[in-house]
């Protein structure tokens, strides 16, 4: 694919473009979906595409190419140039990263066994069976295998490639209509993939959730399961992008250097983390990915930046390009020192929430939001699960949640599924005084 990249770069230069970034992808992805203990559909995708970013005198254009003959490339570039020329300049554009860079191989991001895996249905059956063994009646979910190749070339001397694999499963187990549990497993290498554990967790929670009663509204200490807390963190990661901050989609606006979370809270983005689903060697302009501390001991340290935005704010890039919109790779919530039992023992009267969905904001800039627990939710009394509850809503504020984190588990879990992207590494988290509401008619 580098040959195509080079040809596009050369043609773009000839036409008079300034900064040019060519990112080629070759993707093979497989999916097995299941519901009611049987496979509903199996899918396979194969695609090749080239994403092109091109600047002409501070005017930005982007497009995607699907066919790569010289004629198509030239036609596309000319059309892009004609359109871009007619625009006013983006006054706050400051260029792309100056390469070349050196890249290191990141452990546990590629596994030939996943590429060669002929038939993943046994993993689906093992997850279903584990959930059924725990007492589930119906099991649904999805399994993916991934094999991706990336080739990046820029007008600033970058030439980089990366090849990655992954396998993951998301399992939801049901006993009745309102008694369910969820588990996931994501891994870049086959040996650390654990579909059975995902199914078992889903089944265990479903079983614990049998015969729930209507939950009460009020203010409660809440233990968020990693699955639930990861959902909130994935929204926060979007809000940490400097783009979201500028566009009015973030409660972090104007808070750099301020205390926005409990002092025990440190949250990072780690782009080069081994065996993490979002890991890549380099960002979209070729900067080697790295570890960036977003919140350190409760204080907001940085937004996620690309080179242009970093220059605008007179700082260094965090290697999170997105050339238009910087984005997180893998969100990492620094673990604490509590075992799961110790965490529960901190709660006299509270709620354990195993999963949430449908997080929505009344006001992004203020951070007011609500999210809906799904799967098992439980009343905790004196450190013990007392009984399952249903039909409640977490209605609170993002910063308030961060400020009220009083304890974190010591074990981390990688969460990446339909509701959580980018991947989030998080422990169990105890938050004091969380607003809980319920329907009134």
């Amino acid at each position: 694919m580098f040959e195509i990249n080079k040809l596009i770069l050369k043609k773009a230069k000839e036409l008079g473009f300034g900064d040019v970034v060519v990112l080629s992808h070759e993707e093979s992805r497989r999916q097995v979906r299941f519901a009611n203990n049987e496979i509903t559909v199996a899918k396979n995708w194969h695609s090749r595409k080239v994403e092109l970013f091109a600047e002409y005198e501070k005017r930005i254009g982007s497009t995607t190419l699907m066919t790569f003959d010289e004629g198509t490339i030239e036609k596309t570039l000319k059309a892009l140039l004609a359109s871009v020329k007619s625009l006013a300049p983006k006054e706050d554009y400051y260029g792309i990263a100056e390469g070349p860079f050196k890249y290191r191989d990141i452990p546990e991001t590629f596994d030939r066994k996943i590429v060669e895996l002929d038939e993943p249905n046994e993993y689906v059956e093992s997850a279903i069976n584990a959930a059924l063994e725990e007492g589930a009646k119906r099991v649904a979910g999805v399994l993916y295998t991934d094999h991706n190749k990336l080739y990046l070339s820029t007008s600033n001397g970058v030439e980089a490639s990366d090849e990655g694999t992954g396998i993951e499963i998301s399992v939801r187990a049901f006993i009745g209509d309102e008694e369910s549990g969820h588990g996931t497993s994501s891994s870049r290498v086959l040996s650390k993939f654990d579909p059975e554990n995902a199914g078992r967790k889903a089944g265990e929670i479903a079983k614990l959730a049998v015969s729930p009663i209507q939950g009460e509204a009020g203010t409660f200490d809440v233990i968020f399961d990693p699955l639930a807390f990861a959902n909130l963190m994935s929204y926060m990661s979007f809000m940490a992008s400097a783009f979201a901050v500028e566009a009015g989609f973030s409660f972090l606006v104007g808070k750099l250097g301020q205390r926005i979370a409990h002092e025990g809270v440190t949250i990072k983005d780690i782009g080069n983390m081994p065996n993490a689903y979002g890991t890549r060697k380099f960002d979209d302009e070729g900067v080697p990915t790295r570890e960036t501390t977003i919140i350190e001991n409760g204080e907001l340290r940085t937004y996620l930046l690309n080179t242009s935005m970093a220059k605008k704010y007179k700082t260094e890039t965090t290697a999170n390009a997105g050339l238009i919109m910087p984005r997180a790779w893998n969100i990492y919530v620094e673990p604490g020192n509590h075992s799961k039992e110790e965490l529960f023992s901190e709660v006299k009267h509270g709620v354990y929430i195993t999963n949430v969905w449908y997080t929505r904001f009344q006001n992004y800039v203020k951070g007011d939001f609500s999210t809906i627990p799904r799967d098992g939710a439980f009343l905790i009394k004196n450190g013990e699960i007392e009984r399952p509850i249903r039909n409640i809503r977490v209605s609170d504020n993002m910063q308030h949640i961060l400020e009220n984190i009083v304890a974190l588990g010591k074990e981390l879990y990688q969460i990446h599924w339909w509701e959580v992207d980018p991947p989030v590494f998080t422990p169990y988290v105890l938050v004091r005084d969380v607003g809980i509401t319920k329907a009134t008619k």
């Binding site: 979906r33 199996a42 999805v142 009015g248 008619k441």
Partner: protein, 472 residues
């Protein structure tokens, strides 16, 4: 391209598929974005490929490719067949499709002002008009995110049962996020969208710059004059926008038969509705909810679905009674029924699944004044920001952005963040009157895995809810 689509269907049958379909899709368009007055950039959308779906031994396989050669398409067919065979071994019952009659059809939506003839600069002008209208108001709007998007959506669908449907549908939309800062307080109108199937004449007639101006004026008034809403049991008038989100979330979604039968259980969830609830009362006699893909120029427009079935209006609720589910061929067959053309895919690389198109609360016989005139104490909810609903579609909440107190039949000052948190049956049973005038609002409906955000309209007439609990 027809030849390649036909080739895929033929090859799939040769390899043993009892059912085979192939769908070519091509999207070409433009996007321009402006953030805080800066043109962020221009994107040219160019995407195309073929998706193949087959049934083999009662298992379903799907495969897609964007390499449009016979060799690559044949590889994709082989993969789909192989996957379907393997899937059939992990099934309790074979998948079957309902019997349908198919057609050979070409249809297209014509543009009066064709966006392909208009340069990027002129498209950016639409955003500039919003920018100027908002900034010219004298209101402080420190964060402004504006985007314009258009694309031609070309599809060719064939199956081995005689369907050949080709369509060309242009789509055009404008989206904005505006944050108003007055008196040290920030209020926000996020992700407001105007969207149509058709040409630029529809955007120009709609005047999103006027709507944006009204939005920032309403937000300023909310900051300056907004008071706490009443609490406890009151009457609420919901606008077409709020009625729209409510019918979408608590009528459209729970009536999707694939969801009812558990296919989406691990993602978007199941439904409080069961097949045997057809014919049961879910709302008052004032409530009729219609789902209609065929509304001209609508954001959810289509005349044939992505299984080649001819579309028609569907009455989900008729005078308070559950009267029809949304169905594709697979799920209609489980109930021994026929598909009502609800199968939609967002692109060539996605399977068609059961979706909404344009969902609305059918008009009643009240003027807006009549809805309000005998309310002693209540709230008129014009628009909403935060909303959500549980994954069985029974407990929903809508928080007003623009909302006003109603007192003794008159609309008074703005109220801040009135919260309606209510069950689906509670909501639709509380409606005692519906207005005459309909308005529709665009949205992107999320479902499926990988996600398929499909364009939909939702809306309808305003409605009056009696004796519902309002929180603040």
């Amino acid at each position: 391209m027809h030849e390649l689509v036909e080739f895929a269907v033929e090859k799939a049958q040769e390899l043993g598929a009892s059912y085979a379909e192939a769908r070519f899709e091509e999207k070409n368009g433009t996007e321009v974005v402006m953030k805080n007055g800066n043109p962020e950039g221009l994107g040219i959308l160019a995407d195309r490929g073929i998706g193949i779906r087959v049934l083999v031994d009662g298992g379903m396989g799907f495969s897609s490719t964007n390499l449009l050669t016979k060799e690559s398409v044949f590889d994709a067919v082989k993969r789909a067949v192989k996957l379907a065979k393997a899937a059939s071994k992990v099934r309790n019952k074979p998948i079957q499709f309902s019997e349908e009659s198919f057609h050979e059809v070409f249809y297209e939506v014509r543009m009066r002002k064709d966006f392909r003839d208009v340069g990027a600069e002129e498209k950016m002008e639409y955003l500039k008009r919003i920018e100027e209208s908002v900034l010219g108001s004298g209101i402080t709007v420190p964060m402004r995110f504006l985007s314009y998007r258009d694309f031609m959506w070309h599809k060719i669908f064939m199956n081995n049962e005689g369907a050949m449907i080709e369509s060309i549908i242009p789509r055009v939309s404008i989206t904005y996020n505006l944050v108003v800062l007055e008196e040290g307080q920030m209020e926000q109108a996020p992700f407001v969208q105007r969207a149509f199937s058709g040409g630029l004449e529809l955007i120009e007639k709609d005047e999103p710059w006027e709507r944006a101006l009204n939005d920032v004026k309403a937000l300023r008034r909310l900051i300056k004059e907004g008071k706490k809403p009443p609490e406890g049991k009151v009457d609420i008038v919901i606008s077409p926008e709020v009625a729209g989100i409510a019918v979408h979330e608590s009528v459209g979604h729970p009536y999707e038969l694939d969801r009812i039968m558990g296919r989406e259980a691990a993602q978007a969830g199941e439904s409080f509705v069961k097949p045997e609830m057809l014919g049961e009362r879910i709302g008052s006699e004032a409530v009729t909810v219609i789902e209609d893909p065929t509304i001209p120029n609508s954001w959810g427009f289509y005349l044939y679905d992505d299984e080649g079935v001819k579309a028609r209006p569907r009455y989900l609720i008729r005078e308070g009674i559950i009267s029809e589910f949304l169905m594709n061929r697979e799920y209609a067959a489980y109930l021994g029924m026929k598909s009502n053309a609800s199968a939609r895919a967002i692109n060539y690389n996605r399977e068609p699944i059961v979706r909404m198109a344009n969902t609305y609360l059918a008009p009643g016989d009240h003027t807006f004044e009549e809805l309000v005139e005998d309310i002693k104490l209540g709230v008129y909810m014009v628009s909403f920001n935060e909303w959500n609903i549980d994954d069985r579609r029974y407990q929903q909440r809508y928080i007003g952005r623009e909302a006003y107190l109603i007192e003794n039949g008159e609309i008074k000052h703005p109220v801040r963040k009135p919260i309606l948190e209510i069950t689906t049956k509670g909501l639709w049973s509380s409606v005692d009157a519906v207005g005459k005038e309909i308005e529709m609002f665009p949205g992107t409906c999320g479902k499926g895995e990988p996600g398929q955000g499909v364009p939909v309209w939702m809306g309808g007439a305003p409605a009056r809810l009696r004796d519902v609990v309002l929180r603040r």
